[in-house]
Symmetry: C2
DNA sequence: TACTTTGTTCAGTTTGGACTGAACAAAGTA
DNA sequence: TACTTTGTTCAGTCCAAACTGAACAAAGTA
C-alpha cells in the first residue's frame, strides 16, 4: 500500500513503471513500431538488465507469438539484443549498447529512397515540361534535406 | 499513341504523370498522409496551376467525400491552398508557396511531445533508481535530437 | 419561388495489419 | 527412448482507419 499525496506528484515506482511502458507503447505506435514492440522496448529500457523471453510475455500479458515477433522486430532494428545466459535455456533480451542510431538510419534510408524515386521521375521529364520538372525536383530536395538532417543527428546520440 | 523504344527510358508524359502520382501516394502512405491525400498532392505538384475540386476527384477516380477529406487534410498541413477563381463556383486548389516547412514542423512537434512525455517520467523517479532514470533520460534525449535536427532542416527547404 | 451545383458529413463497407493461440520443430532432460 | 521446455510459424480473429456514396445544407441561377 502506497501513501497518497494531495497532488499526484509522488506515485509508487511500480505505477510509474507501468505508466512508462504504456507511454512508450503509444509513442512507438505512432512511429515505426507496433504498440507491443514499443511496450517491450519500454520494459527493457526500464529494466536495463537482460530479461527472459517468458518473463517479457508474462509481464506484458501478451502471447508468446506476439513476444516473438516483437523481440525479432526490435532485434532487427538493433534496438535490443538477444543474449545467452549461462545455464539458462530461455533466450534473454536487453537494451543494445547504442540503440538509437540504427533507428534513425532506417528512417533516413527511407527518406533517401523517396528522394531517389522522385528524382528518377524528374530525370525522365522532357524539356517541354521544365516547370513541372522544377517542382518535382524541389519536392525531391525536401526528402533529401530530411535524410541529411537525420543522418547528421546520428552523431548527437548514443 | 506514343512511340516505343527498346529500353523503357522514354515513356510518354502521360504515363510518367500517372506513375508519379501513384508513387507519391505510396510514399505518403508510409508517412503522415493517407494514400489518397498523397495522390492529390502529387497531382498538384505536377500541375502547378489551380485545379478544380471536381477535376481532382474525377481524374483520380475517387469519391467527392474522399476528395473533401484529402484536400482538407492537405490544407490543414499547409501543403496546398484553396483559392477562388473569378467567375467559377467550384473550389480550386494549388500547391502552397512553401509547402514543406509546415510538414516538418508537425513531425518535429511530435518528437518534442514524446521527449517531454519521457522526461516527465524521469523527473518523477526517486533517487533509488538512478540507473533506470539515466536510461530513460537517454531515451528522451534521442527524441530531443530528432526534434532539433528536423527543426534545423526547415531552413534548408522551400 | 423551384432547381442546380457545390463541398461536407456521416453511416456503412472494406481492408490491412496487429494480435492470439494452437500446432510445430528443435533441443534439453530423465 | 519418452517427456519437457523452448521460440517460431501460421491460420484465424479482431479492430481501427480508409474509403465510398447517399443525404444534406448552403449558395448560385433562372
Amino acid at each position: 500500500m502506497q501513501t497518497t499525496s494531495s497532488a499526484d506528484n509522488c506515485k509508487g515506482v511500480e505505477t510509474l513503471r507501468l505508466e512508462f511502458i504504456e507511454k512508450i507503447g503509444l509513442i512507438s505506435k505512432g512511429g515505426e513500431l507496433t504498440q507491443i514492440a514499443g511496450r517491450v522496448f519500454g520494459l527493457l529500457v526500464w529494466e536495463g538488465v537482460p530479461m527472459a523471453f517468458g518473463d517479457i510475455a508474462c509481464q506484458l500479458k501478451i502471447s508468446r507469438g506476439s513476444a516473438s515477433s516483437a523481440t525479432r522486430s526490435l532485434e532487427d532494428r538493433r534496438l535490443i539484443k538477444r543474449v545467452a545466459i549461462h545455464g539458462e535455456r530461455q533466450d534473454f533480451f536487453q537494451l543494445s549498447d547504442s540503440p538509437y542510431s540504427g533507428m534513425i538510419e532506417r528512417v533516413a534510408a527511407r527518406m533517401d529512397a523517396a528522394q531517389k524515386d522522385i528524382f528518377s521521375t524528374a530525370a525522365q521529364m522532357p524539356d517541354s515540361h521544365n516547370e513541372t520538372k522544377a517542382r518535382i525536383e524541389a519536392y525531391g530536395r525536401f526528402y533529401k534535406s530530411l535524410s541529411k538532417a537525420l543522418t547528421g543527428a546520428i552523431q548527437d546520440i548514443d
